[in-house]
């Protein structure tokens, strides 16, 4: 057991935990921040992505001890003064989530991508850079659109190439 102290979502926390405690376990089980999820054992799914000193990491593959003394941001810490982050809003607006289990990791990954990607963001870049996050519900179509829409708002439209508008005619109606 060791005393682990870090800053989580702007607050300093300190807990006595076993040295094998993973960062995601520290957040979920010791701090009650259950928005960060565990979806696999092999660092594949990305449900557990948080920011460690502003950098996206899979918190299931970081020991709490490795994060000691550093700053962690989780999905719970993204909204500021009750105002949702533009990426959170875009996920809702573009139906970028269904069951919502992958969503916290997905949003945290997208926030970091938009904040750090040096070039122009387009559909291809988003699909390549987001490959470390799995979603089983959406087929990714709407998540791509949510990320690009948020990026346009955050970076300005010049930095983002939007995909073609969705084919969404009014349904063909028939009384059967």
């Amino acid at each position: 057991m060791s005393a682990i102290a870090m800053n989580v979502n702007g607050s300093n926390v300190r807990k006595e935990v076993g040295d094998s405690t993973l960062l995601v376990e520290f957040l979920r089980e010791h701090l009650g921040l259950t928005g960060t999820h565990v979806g696999c054992d092999t660092t594949q799914c990305g449900c557990c992505v948080v920011h460690l000193d502003g950098v996206s990491v899979k918190s299931c593959t970081v020991l709490a001890a490795q994060a000691a003394g550093r700053a962690v941001t989780t999905i719970e810490g993204l909204a500021r003064n009750g105002e949702l982050h533009p990426v959170q809003k875009a996920f809702r607006e573009h139906h970028g989530l269904q069951c919502g289990f992958c969503t916290p990791g997905m949003i945290m990954a997208a926030v970091e991508l938009i904040a750090t990607y040096p070039g122009r963001l387009d559909e291809h870049v988003v699909r390549e850079e987001m490959e470390g996050n799995l979603c089983r519900c959406t087929g990714y179509h709407n998540i791509v659109r949510a990320i690009l829409a948020a990026a346009s708002q955050m970076l300005g439209p010049d930095r983002v190439v939007q995909p073609p508008a969705d084919h969404m005619p009014a349904p063909r109606k028939s009384e059967g």
């Binding site: 054992d41 092999t42 996206s56 899979k58 593959t61 020991l63 001890a65 991508l113 470390g132």
Partner: protein, 271 residues
């Protein structure tokens, strides 16, 4: 995971002392292979010695002939480093193609080569570029460092501190990724210097990363894709699994070597 004790030494001396004191100690760098292995109960070290706070393992420098990369530098740091991009751009590109962006924020070059996963990207670059692996006690040439699947020449308690890459005149890398694991089914790194051409293949060898001699000789004589059209690797020396038969891998080695050579200075990732 099993219970363990975590250590974070600041110096190599401390790290060595901690390693010696642990019943079954292991070094931890980025942890992106070791921690999943421990979660699956396939490893159970008594002590984890986190080497990432040791100053000697950090830093990137180049002097025109050599590019030196600290063992604890992450894939993201290597891929974004202006020094690496200038000295050996393909190496930056390779680092930027490993895993996914979150993995690249944690995984390190030293951890990757010390682990020597048969499908990892870095060992092919280290071997093809004829790099020198520098440890806390000696210098080991790449040809002597990788000794088999997950095996290296590292002695118990030996810490990789940096890797020194001779800067080639040309280098290129092409790989084909598994749709599931995202590791390379085959990756081919080609490096050309004034003296020779070295080719290293990852993902495919039954004994890990290796150098296909026929490809090197052909390219040394004529550094064009056409020169290796007749070259092949014996499938008997290659892995066979869900991702591909040995025969398929043998074929991909030829295809990827050819595609690599056709675009010097570039990394190409296929799927």
């Amino acid at each position: 995971m099993y219970p363990l004790t975590y250590h974070r030494p600041k110096t190599l001396a401390e790290a060595k002392e901690m390693f010696g004191a642990g019943a079954d100690a292991t070094f931890l760098s980025g942890g992106h292979t070791l921690l999943p292995t421990m979660k699956q109960h396939l490893a159970a070290p008594s002590d984890l010695i986190d080497v990432t706070a040791i100053a000697e393992l950090h830093g990137i420098a180049a002097d025109g002939k050599l590019l030196k990369i600290g063992a604890a530098m992450t894939h993201a740091e290597v891929s974004e480093s202006p020094i690496v991009r200038l000295a050996i751009p393909v190496l930056a590109g390779l680092a930027g193609s490993i895993g996914d962006r979150h993995v690249r924020h944690r995984g390190t070059i030293g951890g990757s080569i010390a682990n020597n996963d048969p499908a990892a990207d870095y060992p092919s670059a280290v071997l093809a570029l004829n790099a020198m692996v520098v440890t806390d006690r000696r210098r080991v040439a790449a040809d002597d460092f990788f000794t088999g699947l997950y095996q290296t020449a590292r002695e118990p308690g030996e810490i990789v501190t940096r890797i020194e890459f001779p800067i080639p005149t040309q280098a290129c890398y092409a790989k084909f990724r598994s749709p599931a694991s995202r590791y390379s089914i085959v990756g081919v790194f080609v490096a050309r210097t004034d003296k020779a051409v070295r080719v290293a293949v990852t993902g495919a060898g039954a004994s890990g990363v290796f150098r296909p001699a026929a490809f090197e000789q052909a390219l040394a004589a004529d550094f064009r894709s056409e020169a290796i059209a007749h070259c092949s690797v014996d499938p008997a020396l290659l892995l066979s699994d869900l991702n591909g038969t040995a025969e398929y891998r043998a074929h991909l080695i030829g295809v990827l070597a050819s595609r690599a050579v056709a675009k010097p200075g570039q990394i190409q990732s296929f799927k």
